[in-house]
C-alpha cells in the first residue's frame, strides 16, 4: 500500500463518530478546530462524511445500538483508514465496563469487520487536546 500510505499521511481528514460518549471527548475534539489548537495547520480537517475520511475518531463505549452503525461507518471509509480510539471509554469502556450498556470495546467491534484495521489509542478521560494531537502525530509516524 506504499503510495497510498504516503498520501494518507500528507493531510489527514478525520470523521468523528460518537458511539456512546459523555461528550467531553467530543468537546475536546471540536476544541481542536478552534483557534487555540487549530489542527488545520497540520492539514487535518474534520469532514462531514465517512467517505471523505482518512481517519475515524471514535469516542464512547460503543453501546449495543451503535455496534452495527460503527461497523457500517468504518466500512464506508476509504481504505487505508486509521481508527483513533479517543478516551478511556472507547479504549476499554472505562467506568462503564461493568454495565449492560456495551457488549464490546470499540477495537473489537472494528476488528470484527476488518481484522487488519489500523487502530491507535489515545487514553484519558478525556484526553487533553494536546494529547490527541500528539497521539495522531505518533501514530502517523509509526505507520
Amino acid at each position: 500500500m506504499g503510495w497510498k500510505m504516503w498520501a494518507l499521511k500528507k493531510s489527514v481528514w478525520v470523521y468523528h463518530v460518537n458511539v456512546g460518549a459523555c461528550n467531553n471527548c467530543d468537546i475536546e475534539i471540536l476544541e481542536l478546530l478552534t483557534p487555540r489548537y487549530d489542527i488545520e495547520r497540520f492539514g487535518m480537517m474534520l469532514v462531514g462524511s465517512p467517505r471523505h475520511a482518512d481517519a475515524l475518531l471514535v469516542t464512547g463505549i460503543c453501546t449495543r445500538q451503535s455496534v452495527r452503525r460503527l461497523q457500517e461507518v468504518y466500512l464506508q471509509t476509504a481504505k487505508p483508514c486509521v481508527v483513533f480510539v479517543i478516551g478511556s471509554c472507547a479504549g476499554d469502556r472505562g467506568i462503564f465496563k461493568a454495565g449492560y450498556g456495551s457488549p464490546a470495546p470499540v477495537d473489537e467491534v472494528i476488528r470484527e469487520v476488518d481484522p487488519n484495521a489500523i487502530i491507535a489509542y489515545v487514553p484519558g478521560c478525556p484526553p487533553r487536546p494536546e494529547a490527541m494531537i500528539s497521539g495522531v502525530v505518533k501514530a502517523l509516524a509509526a505507520i
Binding site: T63, R64, Q65, A98, G99, Y100
Partner: protein, 143 residues
C-alpha cells in the same frame, strides 16, 4: 408551602395513604394505586411541575414515584404508588401531562410496568436488539 400541603391533603383525601415531611422543602406521600392519575392531576393543577418519575423494584411489585416540584414554593413532593406483581401496571398520567410521555416509556422499558392509556408504548431507551421481557433494572438481572 404549608398551605400547599394542606390543600393537597384535602384534595387527595381518602386516596392518601400516608404523608411524611422530613424537611421544610421535601414531602413524600403514598397514594392508592388505582387513583394515581387523579392524584397527579390534582397536584399538577395546583401548579406543580412533574420533574420525573422513578420506578423501583420492591417486594410487592414495582413502586413508581412521581416527583413534582412546586417552583416558587420551594417544595418537592414525591407521590408514590405501587404496581403490584405479577403484571405491574398503572394508569398513565401522560394522558394529562405530555411531559410524562417519555419517562413512562422508559419505565416500561427498564422495569416492565405497563401504563394503561399511554398513547405510544414503543421502546425508547433500550436497543432494538434487546430481548423482550428482560428488564435491566429488576433484581436478579445480570449484565
Amino acid at each position: 408551602m404549608d398551605s400547599i400541603l394542606e390543600t393537597i391533603k384535602v384534595r387527595l383525601a381518602s386516596d392518601l395513604l400516608s404523608l411524611s415531611v422530613p424537611s421544610a422543602d421535601r414531602a413524600f406521600a403514598r397514594v392508592q394505586s388505582a387513583s394515581i392519575r387523579r392524584c397527579v392531576a390534582h397536584i399538577w393543577n395546583l401548579g406543580g411541575r412533574l420533574a420525573t418519575m422513578t420506578g423501583i423494584e420492591v417486594r410487592d411489585g414495582i413502586e413508581v414515584n412521581y416527583h413534582v416540584c412546586f417552583d416558587g414554593d420551594t417544595l418537592v413532593i414525591t407521590l408514590s404508588a405501587l404496581a403490584p406483581w405479577p403484571e405491574p401496571s398503572l394508569e398513565s398520567v401522560a394522558q394529562d401531562i405530555p411531559g410524562a410521555l417519555w419517562i413512562e416509556r422508559e419505565i416500561h422499558d427498564i422495569l416492565g410496568v405497563s401504563f394503561t392509556g399511554h398513547p405510544d408504548m414503543r421502546r425508547l431507551v433500550l436497543p432494538d436488539d434487546w430481548p423482550e421481557g428482560v428488564y435491566p433494572l429488576r433484581k436478579g438481572f445480570e449484565a
